[in-house]
Assembly symmetry: C2
Homo-oligomer: 222 residues x 2
């Protein structure tokens, strides 16, 4: 039986699912970590399970109920409604979960350290920067230094898509044959993507720019 | 009613309790955060409650069950026995909880961001460095950069005792009138401190070097 050689964060969204396929294509055998952190779009967790299963990748779901700690995010259960409109800073700001990425990445680094693994991957990309300060290169670099110096294993934090656009990710996923219908982007907690929130619009734009059809789109056209 | 002006991590141990008194002496009104993370010495949590109450400081206990995630630490429920002997790297290494400080500090930064506060304090000191990589200055500095760049509030991470020895902390606590009997150091989960584990020995040494009696020592002499 193969042993995992790195940890990766798999939300079940488009970016991290393409990252999973990308890592496997590069010959890696990651342990996929998914966080059930109280997000309204918990539906992404089922998608993560599906993708890990499809690729035969070990998968752990960690429950980290941030909705019981933080009151200020529309992304979490108990928060205000998810805004509709562009994927812009004004529109998306209410969806920011305070320091979410540092919290989830610090768990992932801990899991790597605990299992003697030296690398943690995650799917932050260029378009996220404007809205989410914890997707910026200076954050990723500083947290990487902290992870390396704060662990015996000198765990590395890696964001291979950091300089990529969402369109680049869609094109890479297409080349890898990612079943995009098994990824979930909509921030609302409904049965089908709303097509109107910032993440639905961002996804639409990325497929349009890539000149591809989104097999997930059928759901919101109904 | 006063509003808290910063967040601080209060474990209920000696260092963070002196830090609490130190911050209050400097005119700060912190929100004290204690983590119930599955440590065998959960007794420190009751001490943290006591100290916060004595000073009239708002206090929140967050449950973050790291013992259900990590298998490799003797500090956690389910781990092997706490080692006895000096506070040295060989002796204490089994007590390291993988990436613990980054996980707990990232929650604290999130709480600060959620409440619009700009500072997070914690009680890492010079003696911890050899054993715990996540108490080293380069870790603290890098995580501080990550916290600042990863939050809208540009939250600062501060470790005022970073260059102090444990003896310095004991002397400062003595000058501030800290009731040391309301602090808990022993890593074992017993009713009284064992007097033999690394943290008990480190504490004894610090009081001895400071030329002071430890009112907590009466308990282990019985």
């Amino acid at each position: 039986m193969m042993n995992e050689d790195c940890v990766m964060i798999l939300s079940g969204g488009l970016d991290s699912t393409v990252l999973l396929y990308h890592l496997v294509d590069e010959g890696r055998f990651p342990l996929a970590l998914t966080f059930d952190y109280g997000q309204k779009h918990g539906r992404e967790i089922a998608m993560a399970r599906l993708s890990a299963k499809e690729l035969g990748i070990p998968h752990v779901v960690l429950t980290v109920p941030l909705d019981t700690i933080f009151s200020s995010s529309s992304l979490l259960h108990g928060g205000e409604d998810i805004p509709e409109g562009d994927y812009s800073i004004e529109n998306q700001k209410s969806t920011v979960v305070p320091n979410r990425n540092m919290i989830l990445l610090s768990y992932a680094v801990g899991v790597a350290e605990d299992r003697g693994l030296k690398r943690v991957y995650y799917g932050a990309h260029r378009n996220d920067r404007a809205v989410y300060p914890d997707c910026r290169p200076e954050f990723i670099e500083a947290l990487g230094t902290a992870a390396r110096s704060g662990t015996y294993n000198q765990v590395e934090l890696l964001a291979p898509f950091m300089t990529w656009s969402k369109t680049d990710i869609v094109m890479r996923g297409h080349a890898l044959g990612v079943p995009f219908e098994h990824t979930w982007s909509c921030y609302k907690g409904h049965d089908a993507p709303c097509g109107r929130c910032g993440t639905c619009r961002e996804r639409k734009g990325a497929f349009r720019n890539a000149g591809l059809n989104d097999p997930g789109e059928r759901q919101w056209k109904r």
